[in-house]
């Protein structure tokens, strides 16, 4: 293993490789609570061929390779657990092609959600994609890789369900296209009617290859958006409320939140309902339908629609929302992390009570939020805590609270979303052994040396 730095420089150019301490420090951590592990090298490739070159060299030398988007998962997914090379994808940010009528776009693996959003705003204002509520620097490919969710998730499922094709550099360095693009120049499907192999890469956090291009489905963008908030004083009503709202099929997105501060939100649960339409009449019809779907709750005084002031409305209609960064500073010190299992909505009352219990037990400021996935098929429930990064005791308490939340979610039927290494181990222990064996078989066959983002989805 000699002259790695020079060999990487030969591939990507001198300016785009580093082994400087300050760079390794930065690339060894994410904004969450996972312990840092420094890489040995950082590279910023610009082409697919450069990535192939990096991976082939790493394969030859047995060096770990960790692909990285913006590094904002909070759960340490791009922290290089065994050192090696971090491949920062940000220079690969081109929008390769768009098929307006077939409503899909092909982006390079480092394209940020902000860039794609800006591009569509400017060039294709009648099209949109499912924007996650993460900073605009996060990448489209990483977001689908982690099964992220966004503004269209209530209608179309996980953002990974909206993938329409992939191009991947395999651990061998070979390049592979997945989906309709494997047989055609069109990127309209990630699988059907072929065998759907996108699952070999989505949800693997780079442990089976590096996504160099992603096809993303686009959807009609209506001229108008609006938001209403239905409030109830008991979490026990939430599952039925969501069932009724999703039955209408009138909404763009549905989120739920509860938090003790500011006082306006104390002791209530807030169902945030987004509407879109091409006219005021369309929006009003949708609202009317949703309001009526909840008439029984209103009549029984179990819930009602609150007044949403202009300031709150503006904030809620932002895409992405900045509330998370505001929340991160509730406890001075800028720390924020959550455990966000995917779970059925009937578990909302249990999850929210557990969150209260954990916040009390560990003396932490908290925020509970849920995003509805599909027509009520599941939700992501975030046990969110804010902490002061310079307070070691608070960091420790937060870690314990998150760990306990994860254990609890797993115990009541939840599945971890973008799990930490520890959560992956917990999941592997609980899952059907044959499923775990299948995972291992896939990983071993694709990456026999185990160089791709080692530590992730590794079963014994």
């Amino acid at each position: 293993m000699s002259n790695i730095r020079e060999r990487l420089a030969d591939i990507v150019g001198e300016r785009f490789v580093s082994d400087k301490a300050e760079d390794l420090y930065f690339y060894g951590r994410d904004p969450g609570l996972m312990p840092a592990v420094h890489p040995d090298w950082v590279v910023l490739p610009e082409t697919v061929e450069e990535i192939q070159g990096i991976v082939k060299m790493a394969q030859m030398e047995g060096i770990p390779v960790v692909p990285m988007g913006a590094g904002m998962s909070l759960s340490g997914l791009v922290i290089p657990q065994k050192g090696g090379i971090v491949v920062d994808m940000k220079r690969m940010d081109r929008i390769v092609d768009i098929n307006e009528k077939a409503r899909y776009v092909i982006v390079e693996g480092g394209t940020s959600t902000g860039r794609l959003n800006a591009y569509l705003n400017k060039k294709y204002p009648r099209l949109r994609f499912s924007i996650p509520d993460s900073p605009a620097a996060t990448t489209v490919a990483a977001n689908v890789m982690i099964h992220g969710q966004g503004r269209l998730t209530q209608q179309y499922g996980f953002n990974s369900d909206m993938v329409s094709g992939l191009e991947v550099v395999l651990p061998s360095g070979e390049l592979c296209r997945i989906g309709s693009c494997a047989i055609s120049n069109e990127w309209f499907s990630k699988g059907a009617p072929l065998p759907d192999l996108s699952g070999l890469f989505l949800g693997w956090f780079g442990a089976t290859g590096i996504i160099t291009k992603a096809g993303i489905k686009l959807y009609p963008r209506k001229l108008l958006r609006d938001v209403e908030i239905f409030v109830t004083d008991s979490p026990d009503f939430i599952p039925e409320i969501i069932y009724e709202i999703t039955h209408t099929e009138m909404t763009e997105d549905i989120n739920i939140f509860s938090q003790p501060l500011p006082l306006i939100f104390k002791d209530n649960h807030h169902v945030v309902i987004y509407f879109t339409g091409d006219s005021e009449e369309e929006i009003e019809f949708r609202k009317k339908t949703v309001f009526h779907s909840l008439d029984l709750f209103i009549r029984n005084k179990d819930g009602g629609f609150m007044s949403v002031g202009a300031g709150m409305k503006k904030s809620l209609l932002e895409m992405p929302q900045r509330n998370a960064s505001t929340f991160a500073d509730v406890t001075k010190g800028g720390g924020f992390e959550y455990s966000g299992p995917i779970i059925t909505i009937d578990k909302y009352p249990q999850c929210t009570r557990k969150l209260d219990e954990l916040a009390h037990k560990y003396d932490l400021k908290y925020h509970g939020t849920a995003r509805i996935i599909g027509r009520g098929h599941a939700m992501m429930f975030a046990f969110s805590f804010t902490f002061n990064r310079s307070d070691a005791d608070m960091l420790d308490r937060t870690r314990k609270a998150l760990h306990e939340a994860s254990q609890y979610a797993l115990s009541i039927g939840g599945v971890f979303w973008k799990p930490t290494i520890d959560e992956q181990k917990m999941a592997l222990q609980k899952m059907d052994p044959e499923f775990a064996r299948l995972l291992k078989m896939i990983k071993t066959n694709l990456d026999p040396q185990g160089i791709m983002n080692p530590g992730n989805w590794e079963s014994k």
């Binding site: 409030v231 004083d233 006082l263 209530n268 009317k288 008439d295 179990d302 609150m306 007044s307 202009a310």
Partner: protein, 342 residues
């Protein structure tokens, strides 16, 4: 400790039963009206306790010095009758909770009260307010809490309002100009009706504007626009102030369009109806209200309450009507441009 002063005999001898006969949301004749208000006073059940939508208008309709709506509110609480969903009531009670984040300007003998609405800081600028600003205060500690009569909850008012009175008195002010009807009514109507002593002089901002415009009359250039006025529910609690509105409009050259729903017949903005009862009542009231504005040629809708403004702005704009707060309109008339902050 604080009991509502209510004279049953005034109702028994009432020749009209106007409090409920005039109600826009219930159908009662004179005899029924008198019977029900007496039933309510005597603690008996009454459909009014369940059907009243809390528009406050009966406080204005009663010309005999009683307080029918305060009575309805008190009895609802006594009987545990909820007007709003529990979560909405809880939210509002939480909103008014003092939290030590109030703001006080350079207080003099006369001061402006913004209740808990900091947005008044943005509009109380310019010549109209130069003789009082920056003497102002706002925050939950100065919030009148009258809104809880919408929710059948007088106990929170009785608990908090004496503290608010003391808080204002401790500022050393002699005269307070209230920028919101409900706050004025707290000290001019509701507080005294429940036997509270008010140790300062309360002035409604309509009166203040009227007097200031008289002083600045040489600056006034008639606006020459047609406008509708959205009268808020809370103005019913201090209905004697309503007389200033047409006078002020006349002074600044605004033609108040003749409407079906004006003065005593004004309709609610719909905001509270929406939170309490859902879609239909609010939508119906808003539609009739806005149709009435457009049918009569209003270019502007004048708001006196930010709650109404928030509830109706998008809907009236969609119909080509421009929303404006009364203060902003008066400032425009003396050559200022509130939108540009000058």
């Amino acid at each position: 400790m604080f009991d509502l002063k209510f004279d049953e005999n005034l109702c028994l001898s009432c020749p009209t039963g106007a409090c409920l006969v005039k109600c826009q949301y219930m159908e009662l004749d004179k005899e029924q009206a008198k019977e029900e208000i007496i039933n309510i006073f005597r603690g008996k059940d009454s459909p009014v306790l369940k059907e009243c939508v809390t528009c406050y208008a009966c406080e204005e309709y009663c010309r005999r010095g009683n307080h029918p709506f305060y009575l309805i509110t008190q009895r609802r609480e006594d009987k545990g009758i909820l007007t709003a969903p529990r979560a909405i009531t809880r939210q509002w009670v939480n909103i008014g909770e003092p939290k030590g984040k109030y703001e006080v300007g350079r207080i003099s003998k006369k001061a402006l009260s913004f209740g808990f609405m900091p947005q008044f800081l943005d509009i109380t600028k310019g010549r109209l307010f130069e003789d009082v600003m920056p003497s102002y205060f706002f925050g939950q500690e100065f919030f009148c809490n009258v809104v809880y009569i919408h929710f059948g909850n007088t106990s929170v008012i009785k608990k908090r309002l004496p503290g608010v009175i003391k808080q204002i008195h401790d500022l050393g002010v002699e005269e307070v100009v209230f920028m919101h009807d409900e706050c004025f009514a707290a000290f001019d109507s509701l507080g005294p009706a429940f036997g509270m002593q008010i140790p300062f002089r309360s002035v409604h901002y309509f009166q203040y504007l009227y007097e200031r415009l008289q002083t600045l009359k040489d600056l006034i250039k008639p606006l020459d626009v047609k406008a509708a006025y959205q009268r808020p529910c809370s103005n019913r609690l201090c209905s004697e102030t309503h007389k200033y509105l047409p006078v002020i409009m006349d002074m600044i050259g605004v033609d108040l369009v003749q409407r079906t729903y004006e003065d005593e017949n004004a309709l609610c903005c719909g905001s509270i109806f929406r939170s309490m009862f859902g879609y239909d009542l609010a939508a119906d009231v808003q539609k009739r209200n806005i149709d009435d504005m457009t049918d009569n040629g209003a270019q502007y809708c004048i708001f006196n309450c930010h709650g109404c403004q928030n509830a109706m702005t998008a809907k009236i704009q969609a119909r080509g009507i421009k929303p404006v707060h009364l203060v902003e309109l008066c400032r425009m008339a003396i050559g200022e441009d509130p939108e540009k902050g000058v």
